[in-house]
């Protein structure tokens, strides 16, 4: 069973006449990495940001279709586009986390950064917090580098470390899905490689959706790939098939660098 099921999904930004996403149909599979690729403006980030409803920070969006998220306890799929209440939004974002292109450490200590989501979720016990923070930093491949300065400001970390901190922060709340919006475009190749390795490790515990403008990144780490163009989903298949035997000519043209 997929962990997210997107059906006939269309999305229009506020005060815009035509939709930015048209009739998208795809799945996010459990414990797999799904990549969204396509030229600039194809709507891949828009689609990703719909999966945790972060568009709703800016009111006035129009949705059509459904985005179903699997409820682990009831094993039923629930449409997240129906969510209206504040506390339901909060719960959604605790289950579907997000990492941004620009690393976004909060202006606080490393420990407080990672503990932030936990405190919101209501965890107050100091030892429990410390334990979860340590585990999250280990899962984020950052523990070795920072365990001796957890109380120092997070702003003193390098770009790659900051991004791993954001990942540790997201992982701490044990979400079911994590959305990555071009997580390595602002980083150097070594940090990029470290984060790619981290993602491949992480998929054992979380399902991952990643937007990337770097095709090779998608081919290296993802299990499924979706190719998008101007708001349409052109092709969605196993990564092997997309990169070896794409079915659509547009997909092939993009992959071989003939446009975009």
């Amino acid at each position: 069973m997929p962990v997210m099921n997107i059906q006939d999904f269309s999305f229009t930004y506020p005060n815009v006449s035509h939709p930015s996403l048209k009739n998208i149909n795809m799945k996010i599979r459990k414990n797999k990495i799904t990549a969204l690729i396509g030229p600039s403006g194809c709507g891949k980030s828009t689609l990703l940001r719909s999966m945790n409803r972060i568009h709703d920070l800016y009111p006035g969006n129009r949705y059509e279709g459904t985005i179903d998220l699997l409820n682990d306890s009831t094993q039923k799929m629930e449409n997240i586009l129906d969510i209206k209440k504040e506390n339901e939004f909060i719960e959604l974002r605790q289950r579907v986390g997000m990492i941004f292109q620009k690393p976004t450490p909060f202006p606080m200590s490393i420990f407080d950064n990672v503990a932030y989501g936990l405190k919101i979720a209501g965890i107050k016990n100091k030892s429990e917090l410390a334990g979860r923070v340590e585990q999250a930093l280990k899962d984020g491949a950052l523990w070795k580098e920072v365990n001796d300065r957890l109380d120092k400001s997070a702003m003193g970390l390098s770009g790659g470390q900051q991004q791993r901190l954001c990942i540790a922060r997201a992982v701490a709340v044990k979400p079911e899905v994590i959305l990555f919006d071009e997580p390595t475009s602002a980083l150097d190749p070594i940090s990029t490689g470290a984060i790619e390795e981290l993602l491949v490790e992480l998929k054992k515990d979380v399902s991952i959706a990643i937007v990337t403008h770097n095709m090779q990144q998608a081919s290296r780490i993802s299990d499924y790939t979706a190719f998008m163009y101007l708001g349409d989903l052109i092709e969605f298949d196993k990564t092997e098939s997309i990169f070896l035997n794409p079915k659509e000519k547009q997909t092939e043209d993009y992959i071989t660098g003939r446009f975009g």
């Binding site: 972060i54 932030y116 954001c166």
Partner: protein, 268 residues
């Protein structure tokens, strides 16, 4: 040919800068010479009635302090509202009003407070003066809070929301902290601005020769007294005015430089 034009323009701009700096230097030097000449430590120990400045300095601080106690919280809350919740037409309106108020002549604000506070209450008071100063401070604080918050990147707010924080939590825990240094600097500079104002206090709290903590009566003010003393015929009064101006300048300069020192740290 281009090289020559370059040199001419460079020369002209350097000249203008030097002229501007020259005047500044002239003012400061004049103040120093005239002020230091009449300066002695007893100024800090005696009130105006005895030829000192103590009550005036203390009074000015109290007036500015109360104005800050009113203006800073109000201004910050308004600034936060504008930046974080203001998508409606109201927000645009408030921003425009605030900008207009910033350029309102200080004497007009003084006259306004005279009409709404001094006349109904039957007389000048420290309260009225503090209110006038707070009206001057408000738009500056709103503007600086609004601007400093707008510098916080959108992704930082989204990152907080994406973790499941509610909007107000994100503002309190993350956004304000991120803009903290900028906002504090802005507030400090606003304080430095109002502590040197004269016109708003002229008709509202006037000044007093005596040491007073009673805000319901005319209240001692350094700036208003400088104005009064400068107009008196006696030489000694004018010397006192120079000393007072010198002290006021040093005060304002110190607060300004402290503010800029903190900004320098942040830029690093």
């Amino acid at each position: 040919m281009r090289l020559l034009i370059n040199k001419i323009v460079l020369g002209l701009s350097t000249l203008s800068a030097l002229i501007g700096l020259g005047f500044l230097a002239w003012i400061l030097i004049t103040l120093f010479i005239k002020g230091l000449g009449s300066f002695h430590f007893s100024l800090f120990l005696n009130d105006l009635i005895d030829g000192g400045l103590r009550n005036l300095i203390v009074g000015q601080f109290i007036l500015a302090g109360i104005a800050a106690a009113i203006g800073i919280p109000l201004g910050m809350v308004a600034g936060i509202y504008l930046q974080e919740y203001g998508r409606s037409r109201y927000a645009g309106l408030i921003r425009n009003l605030s900008d207009i108020m910033m350029s309102a002549p200080s004497i007009v604000i003084g006259a306004f407070v005279y009409a709404i506070v001094v006349v109904p209450s039957g007389g000048t008071s420290g309260f009225a003066g503090a209110i006038a100063l707070s009206i001057m401070m408000l738009p500056i604080v709103i503007n600086t809070t609004d601007n400093m918050l707008s510098l916080v990147p959108r992704e930082l707010r989204e990152a907080g929301i994406a973790l499941g924080a509610s909007k107000y939590r994100v503002i309190l825990d993350i956004v304000i902290k991120a803009a903290k240094v900028g906002i504090m600097t802005g507030i400090l500079l606003a304080f430095a601005r109002i502590i040197g104002e004269t016109a708003p206090l002229l008709f509202t709290s006037e000044t007093s020769n005596y040491f007073s903590l009673d805000l319901s009566e005319s209240f001692p003010s350094l700036t208003v007294s400088i104005y009064d003393l400068a107009n008196e015929p006696e030489e000694s009064s004018r010397d006192l005015a120079w000393a007072a101006s010198f002290i006021l300048t040093v005060l304002v300069l110190t607060i300004n430089l402290t503010g800029r020192y903190f900004t320098r740290n942040k830029k690093r």
